[in-house]
Structure formats: structure tokens, C-alpha cells
Amino acid sequence: MPAAVASQWRDRQRRVFQSVFPTDVAQPTSQSTPSTVFPGPGHPFGGPAASLLGQQQQQQYHGQSPRHPPGEQQQHPLFRKAPEPPLQTAPAQPLFPPAAADDQAAYDRAWYVVTAHIALPPSATADDSFGTTTTTTTPLAPESQQQEQQQLSSGRRRDRAATTAASSSSPGSSEFHDAFALLANASALLPHATRTGDVLAWHARQVRAHFAQHVIPLLGGCVDDDGGDEVESGNDSEEEEQGRGRWQAGRKGNYYERHMVIVMSSIRTLEAAVRLYFYGLSQLLSGFARLADVAPGAAMDAELLNARFRRDLHALVSGSVSEGLIRSVKAVLVRLAGTILGIPSHDDHGGLAARPGPPGPDDLKVQAARERLIELVQQLHNVGLAGERFQALFAEVMDAMMSEFVMGAYAGLWSAPDTRSFSATMDTVSRGASLSVASPCIVSLNDWVENHFARLSFEVLACIASNSHGPLPVSLADLKTYQSLALGRLAALRIQELFDIVLAWPASRPALDDLRATITTAARRKQLTNSFSRALQTRLLHPGCSTLEILQTYISIIRTLHALDPSKVLLSRVEPGLRLYLCQREDAVRVVVAGLLASPEEMRAARKVKEVWKRQREKSRQDEPSHGGKHRKKDPSPFTTPGPSSTRTPQPRGALRDVTPEMETTPSKDTRRAAATKLVELALLLPNDPSSQPPTRRGTTAATSSSADHDPDHLDWSDMTWLPDPIDAAAGYKRPRSEDVIGTLLSALGSGSGDVFIKEFAAVLAERLLLVRGEPAARFEQELRVLELLKRRFGEASLQACDVMIRDVVDSRRVDGVVSRRGKAAGVTPGGGEGMEYHARILSRLFWPGLEREHFLLPGVVVEQQARYETGYEGLKSRRKLTWLNQLGQARVEIELSDRTVTVDCSPVEATVVYAFQGGDDEGGDGAVQKSVEELYERLQMDEDLITAALQFWAGRGVLRRIANSNNTYMVAETLTEPSTAAAAATAPGAAADQPMEAEPEPEPAAAAGSKQGVPAKERERRDMYWRYIQGMLTNASASMPLAQVAMMMKMLIADGFPWSNEELQDFLGEKVAEGEMEVVGGKYRLVRK
């Protein structure tokens, strides 16, 4: 059996060859018959040359074969090929025994018949055969297409092809089946044919080649031709939005349509090709089917083959999809899914899209889009485009849709979106499960995810699911995942918006509900605090914001974050930066104190303003849609989520306004301004402050002071709302019990011993206590309450001075009553000579801040009163003396002028100055009384600055008038008209200024930093003190120092802080140098030695 051995050996050799060099599948039948697939030595195998050759021969073949029906042609290839190289190259051929040769020939013949039958049309110019001629495809059978195409090559072919195509029972068809039976059952029927092949594999190869050569260019043509210019703009599809916007402007928004055309034409092309390929396969399969009856052993499972072929084909198709097509599919998907999910696309309304919202159940547009999408997906699936790539694309699109929806539907919308979303079916599976306390936004979002998002995913994925019996493409667990994803997006959105939420408190409460429900992990909490701290830095903590605004925002932050997280851990995370910044604001303490002590009128005004805001807000909510539209316009792209608080420029006031545009339109601007100058929120909060209320039950014990809080055993065992401490709580964390806005604020400002705070409080308190109130029954209730609050926080001892101050005022009121009664009893005419009432307050010098004595001479009448009062007092309290502080207090002055009477409440200084104009020294009487500053200075011994200020005060009241040609001479304005009629005024010289009806100059300290005349004195005092510091420094520490070191030392050493900047200090030192006190040597300052 040497021949058999040789043939076996050769067969093996051939297989090895084939495995290394796959046979050129493009070769026509004759060349790829088993006898010739094995090229001899020196013959080129399947390289480029071979395929070129194959192509030529292919054409040659096609030029010929149609002329001959396959039946007549059966000898042809052998005739033609027999003398040709394939046979020569098989030198072992003659060695075959005759039977083997016959079998082999029969096999080759059958091979030819079968392959010719299922050969694909070459269609080098096949643009018309299938593909773009989408209109003709569906009704035509594959055969007819083939035939149609072959018509081009030969007219004669037509009738014959028609008969071939007509039915499978035609002679050609039966011949095919006979031949196929031979091939398929070769081992049985043709046992000696050694070189056999797999016709199915051949078909697969030919399909692959055909697809590569013809279909792919066609597909490229689809994208290029139809998408033409679009492809260019599609190239930057990553920054799609800009391109899109531009294109939309120019091209009237047929973006989607053009992409749809691309997709559809590609699908048609592929459909036609796939039909063509499956025709061949079906022929083969029908052969197997017939065979099944005859030789069950040779038959193969049609189902399996079909599936395998389909799988291969789909892999081929999806592996060769061009980027352009993907882009188009994506565009189409975005559009359709957007419509279905209720996310308006941007080209609908010229870029002005409405807020997304879940579509209603009976929206025709949505239904149409849904059907269209399902159909499209089905088609894509059929042609094999719905592979992994498509699924990834779909997932990407859905992901973007979710972000888009959350961003669009809920950005800036904190309460329930319109009722539309609730009218939608609410039969959610998840309802009542874990979201029983969910906020409206969460409910509607979950609803949307379930009824729209998951539904769409389900439908699409069900379409492309490989087998319909497998698990559901979208399970309930998936739905939960989607929902939690959506909630995550919502959380991110809310985190980004948190600063605005804080500003809009309490209208933004629902948004906090969203956050509370979604901030579930420590990571998210961290993200929240980080993002919020950043927002604070850019939007609040910079010089553009007034301290008042910062504090107001701080209050909102406290309340918001407390509402968000009652454990206050979040707050404590955010706070440090804020506190640090507030420490730089010198006036922060003053603002807080003033706010705490705000008067009831101010509180009323604030309440009114709040109501106006509320009304405005409601109104603005009604026209929310337009607002929303405007807001949406700013949103750049559906696929780019704006960075964390990125789009908003860090303009504090602008930002603040941005959020509450109503503020600008508030009609009662005056009340607003009044409210805006003080932190009245604190006064409003005060009555509710937990620490100012007696502890009613254990839970509400004052959070700040009671020692029970420090007691670790103090646990309320019956507290059903107890939660463990948050995971990110710091060590030593102590659970606060209440919102405690004031407490938090105080601890922020009075960190440490609270000295600064107490000092400021004392100053403000002093100022307020000395204001003479209209109602004498003022009991200083508010002051007392604030004092109590502070005492709890800072301890009794540190606030002792304030206690004394209040007691002083109350006591002196009593003393005052007694003194004046005694005076009356003693027979002294009450109110002195001119009906003047005089009251005094007795202050304990040690305890009042800022008691400076300003020297000047009071009017004689007042001095008289003082003396009388003094005796009265010394009679009452023996061995005590009064020291009068003339500049403090208040005077009511009634001035009778020739044409009017003016009553003014003013400071004693001002009263004294105007009293000096009283017609005591009407020399000449030729006009109203005139005084210059110098005269007044001599007479009153008052500081010139004070005199000038007082004169200006009276000039402002229209009582005095500056004489035109002199700088600092004033005269009494007897009449309101111009003093042309000087004579008229002169007629009543006595009535010039008959003033002090009631004057109550009171020796006390108003000298809080605010009071007008106190400032220069205080400032001067401060400069003197700094100068002494500098002197001491340069005398002792070092003889000469550079500016920076001086500034450093001052900052370090002055307990109250050194507020000057280096520049201010330099100016100050410069003055001293100019005065000859200092000198600069080598950039260092030193004292001049005297």
C-alpha cells in the first residue's frame, strides 16, 4: 500500500499547508477544488499575486460560465484544468489507482457544481445590486438579485437564471442536490477521493472575502455620501455640542435625520448582503436536509450550522463597523432614547430646550419614537450590528441620558417638580419599600428610572438578547442598581448645588431631603464637605463679601447642615475654614453682638422682609418654567456634566443675587436695607435658643453649658431616635442636641476664653444702656437675656462687668428719682432757671469700657444743675463724689428761631456748641449771631474737631449757616430763606436762640466705637499707645529694627491684636520720622537719641 501511504502523507502535508496558508477563498471554484489547492513547488500560493490571479480568472470564469448551465458545464473545469499546473503539481496523481482517480474526479465535479451554485456575485460594480437601493430590497428574493446583477454581464443568462431561481425542483437544483449529496457523504460514496474539502468552510471564506471586498466599501460609501459634510463635523463628535450647535443654526436641525439616513442605508446594505450570504447557506442546508433522509450519518444539524454561520457573520459585521457609522448610530440612539425618556433634544427648539421631565403615558411622540427605536434595534440585531459594541454604545448613551435627566430635571429645582411627574403611573415596584420617607425628587426620580429608564433598557436589551429563554435582560436587581446610580447622580448634583441650597434656606428644605437620603456613604460625605468647602472659599470667604453676609450665610450653613446631618459632623468638617476667615474680620464680633441686641422694630422689619421674600419666591416659582429654560440654556451639553460649581464665576454678590433674584425686585427696599444692616436673624432666634430656655426635659438640656453633657453616663435610654455616631466623627465627638445656631456662632467667634467677644459685648452694651429711651420702663430684657446666654457660655466671672453696668443703670435711675425728689423737697426750683430737667446716671468707673473724659465747658445753666445734683447725690450717699463725663449722654434742645421752632435730640457737645450761639453777646445786633471756630474754641475749650463736627451737625439741621466768604464762621439761620433780610432777623435779637428747654447731658460713656465724637479720641489714644510700644521696643528690645520686625512684634505683643497693615505702620513711623522722633538708618528704624 505505498500509494495509500503516499496519499496519506500528502494529505497531511496539504493540511499543514492549509493551516499555515489559508487557501485563497476568492479563487473560483476550479482553482479551489481540492486537487489544486495544493500548489506545487515553485508555484505561488495565496499571496497577493495569487489573489490577483484569482481575480482575473474569476472574471474570466464569469464571462464564460453563465453561458453554460452548470449541468452542461460539468466537464469544463476538468477539461480546462486537466493539463494545467494543478495536475502537474501533483506528481503523485498518476500513482493513484484508477478507482481513486475516478472518485476524485467525481468529487471534484460535485465540488464544482455545488460551489458554482452558491458562488456569490462578484459585483465589482455592484453598487446597485444591493445596498443603497433600499427601495427594492425587501420584496426581492436573493436569487433575483443575483440574477439581476448577472443580467448586466450577459443578456442570455436571463431566462436560464430565471428558471434556476424559479424553484428548487429545476434540473439545475436537483443536480446541485446530487452533487451536494456526493460532497457531503464523500467518505461513503467516494471512498477513494482523498482530497476532500468542507464546502461550508468554503462558503464562509467566500462570504468573508465578499464582505471585505464589496460590502465594506459600500458601507463606507453610505457614511460618506449621506453623511457627507456631517462626517467632518462628526469627527469632533467628542466636542459634539459646539459642532452641533453650529450645524443646527445653519442646517435647521436635520442632524438627526441625516444620521438616520446613514444608519438606515447601512442597515439596508447589510441586510441585502446578509440575505445573499444566507441564500448560499440555505442552499447548503437544504442539501443537508435532503441528505438527512438518505444518509443520516452525513447530515448535519441545520440549526447548529445556521447559528454558527450567523455568529461568524455577526462577528464579521460588527468587527468591521466604521467609526462614522457608530457615530451615526449613537446620534440616532441619543435622539430616540432622549425622546422616550423625556429629555428634550437641543435641536428641537433652536437650542432652547425645556426641562426634562418624565413623559406622560399617552404621548404619541414617545410611542412613535419607542416603536422606531425597537424596530431599529431589531434591524441592527438582524444584520449583526447589535453586538458588544452596540451594547457598550447603548450603555454609554443611557448613562449620559441619566446624567442629563438628573441634571436637567432637578438642577435648581428643590421642591417637588411639577405635578406632572406624579400624575404619571405611580405603581412603582419599589414604592413603599425603602423609600417611604423619600423626598419628592427622589420619588419622581425613582419612578422615572423604573417606568422609563429601566423599561427602555429592558426593551432594547430584550431585542438583542441572543436567546429569548435566558434570564431577563433587566432584572429587579438591575433596576435597584439603576436607581441607586440615579440617586448617586442626584447626590452629586445636590452636592454641587449645596451652597445655593444654603443661601436659599429654608425654601430649599426639600433639596436637603434629597441629600439626606442620598448621602449614605462616608465617601459621599467627604465629597460633600470638600466640595462645599471649596464653594465657600470661592464664593463667600473673600473680601467682596461683607461680614454681615458671611455671618448670615454662616447661620444658614449651620441650620442647613444641621437639618442635613443632626450629628453636626458635616458642619464641623466645613467650619474650620469659615471660622478662620471670620477671625480675620474684625467687625464680626460687633455684628454678632449688634444682631443679638437688635431692637424689636428691627426684628419686625426683618420679619416683614422675610415675608416679602417668601411671597416673591412663590411668585417666581410660578413662572419657574421660563426660569428653568434660562437656566438650562447655560448648560452646555447633554454629555458634559458641568464641573463642581464650575460654571459659576466666583462673584460673591453676583452669585448671591443669582440665587435669590427676588431680592433685587423686592419693593420695600428700605426695610430690606434696614434689615440688611444688622444680623437680626440672631435676635429672632434668641427666644428659641435652646440654651436660653430652662431645661424642660433631659433631651433638651442646654447643649453648651450643662455639665450633664460631659457626663458619659448621661444617656437617654428611652430615646427612640438614637443613632450611632457617624462613621466620620472625629475623636472626642460629642453629640449635640440641637441646632444651637447662636451657640455655634459664639463658639466660632469667641474661641478660647472669649475675651474679644466679651469686650465687644461690653462696649455695645454700654452704648445701648446709655441711650436714653423714650419709654422709661425699658427693662433691658433683651440685654439681660443675651447676658444670661453669654454667661452660660463664658462663665459668670468674665461677664461681671456687664452685670455691674446694667445694675448701675437701674440703680442710677432710682437714685436719680430720689435726688430730684429731694431737690424739689428742698425747695430748689426743679429744673433750674430755665425749666431745664436734668438727669444723671451714675456709673462705676472701673466696670465701664471706654470712659474717656473729654474736657469742655458746659453752659452755665447745666453746670449749675450739675452742682445741685452733686450735692443731692452726696447727701444720699455720703463720702462719694461724682465726676462728670460731659461728653456722654443726650440732650434735647428746643430752638426758637424767628420763623420756626426746632427740637432736636443731640449730644451734649452739640448742645453746648449751639448754646454758645444764644444771643448772649449780640454785639451790635446788626444780624444773627456769628461765631467762628476760634471763638468757640476759646469760649468752650473744646476740641476743634468736635466744634467743627458740631457746627456741621447744626448746619445740616438748618439751624446754623456758614457765612459765605469765611471758612469757619457760622451764623444762626433765623429764617429758612436767604439772609438777605438781615434786618428782619435783627428785630428779634432776644429770640435768637432760646434753647435749652430740656437738656439732659449725662455723664456717661457712650464711647463705643460707633459714636461720632469718640472716634478721634479713641484713635488718638490708640496711636499714642502704639507709639509707646514702639518706643519701648526700640529702647529695650533692640535699638534699631526693620519695619517688618516692628510689625511682627506689635502683632505678637498687643493682646487685642494689631490691626494695622505694614503700610499703615510705615505711614505712622514715617510721621514719627518727620516729627524728628525717629530716624531710619540702613532700612531700620531707631529712636533719635536726645
Partner: protein, 180 residues
């Protein structure tokens, strides 16, 4: 009476606090000293006494001060200025500062390295003293030395015996120190 009440009230809170805060205890006096010194500085600046001044040293350490005393009139030291250094312990004012003359001085109660023999800087110290009182005491010490316990026996002798020689010794010894 009121004191007793106070201590009763604070007892429950303060005792555990002390127990807990044992570690911090060491740091607190230093802080208190710094605070006290800051306050004293403020007092010195707002109500300066004639002829004396003091200020923390240029390195910014509040516990180390430099002071200046002008020699009082009618004493051998008239017209001279003396620099001193103050080093405060961390438990100031419960312990006295260490005071040295940096300017060489010829004085019965000051030795040649500037150490001073003054009772209030040693066993008579109380927390009621402060820098200003110390400086004023030193200033008066210049005019009225305590010759009973001299550090400089020669000076103590000369003070009574030969004021003229004493004066020249003072002038010889004195020389202005520059900053280090």
C-alpha cells in the same frame, strides 16, 4: 460664704477635668505666664512710670525681656542708663523672674556679673509684684543700697566713706552696652 458656694458648685465639674487634663497641666502655666506678661506689657505701655521701661526681647520670646532704668537724680548714677535682662520662669508670676544688669554697674548690691541682691527677687517675691514694681524697686535701690548685705563689699564701704571715689568708680565701670 459666697466663696464656699462657688467652690461647691465648681467641684463636680472641675475635679474630673483636672484629673483628665493632667497632661496639659504643664503647658498651661506657660500660657498663663505669657498672658500675664502680655497684660503687664499693656499696663506698662498705657501707664508708663518715669525712668523705667521694659519690653520683650527682639526674638519674640515673651518670657525674655529687656528693660532700661535711668539713674535717678541726686544719686551717683544720675544721667546714666542701665540695661537689664528679665528671664521669666514658666510659672511666673508664682516665681520671681531672674533679673540681671547687662550694663556693668558699680553698686553695693550688684556683683560684677550683674547679679542683684534684692529680697523681692528672692524669698520676698509674691505674685502681686510685676515688672514695673521690680523696676521701680531697682531704681530706688540705686539711690538707697542695702549695705547690710553687700555683694560688692568695696562699693558698700565706699558708699558711706568716699562718695566722690564711689562716683568715679561708678563712672569708670559704666559703659553702654550695645545690643547683641
Amino acid at each position: 460664704m459666697s466663696f464656699a458656694e462657688d467652690s461647691q458648685n465648681s467641684a463636680p465639674g472641675s475635679v474630673p477635668a483636672n484629673k483628665l487634663g493632667g497632661a496639659r497641666k504643664g503647658a498651661e502655666p506657660g500660657l498663663n505666664a505669657a498672658k500675664r506678661l502680655q497684660t503687664e506689657l499693656m499696663q506698662l505701655m498705657t501707664s508708663p512710670a518715669p525712668g523705667v521701661s521694659a519690653f520683650p526681647s527682639a526674638d519674640g520670646n515673651l518670657l525674655s525681656w529687656r528693660a532700661t532704668i535711668e539713674g535717678p537724680d541726686d544719686t551717683p548714677y544720675s544721667g546714666l542708663t542701665f540695661k537689664l535682662s528679665f528671664e521669666f520662669p514658666s510659672n511666673y508670676p508664682y516665681a520671681p523672674p531672674t533679673v540681671l544688669f547687662r550694663t556693668p554697674i558699680y553698686h553695693p548690691n550688684v556683683d560684677f556679673s550683674g547679679r542683684i541682691c534684692l529680697d523681692i527677687l528672692k524669698d520676698k517675691w509674691t505674685a502681686a509684684y510685676n515688672i514695673q514694681t521690680v523696676l521701680l524697686s531697682l531704681q530706688s535701690l540705686l539711690g538707697e543700697p542695702n549695705n547690710a548685705s553687700p555683694l560688692n563689699g568695696e562699693a558698700a564701704e565706699l558708699w558711706d566713706k568716699d562718695p566722690a571715689l564711689f562716683k568715679t568708680k561708678v563712672m569708670d565701670r559704666h559703659k553702654d552696652v550695645e545690643d547683641d
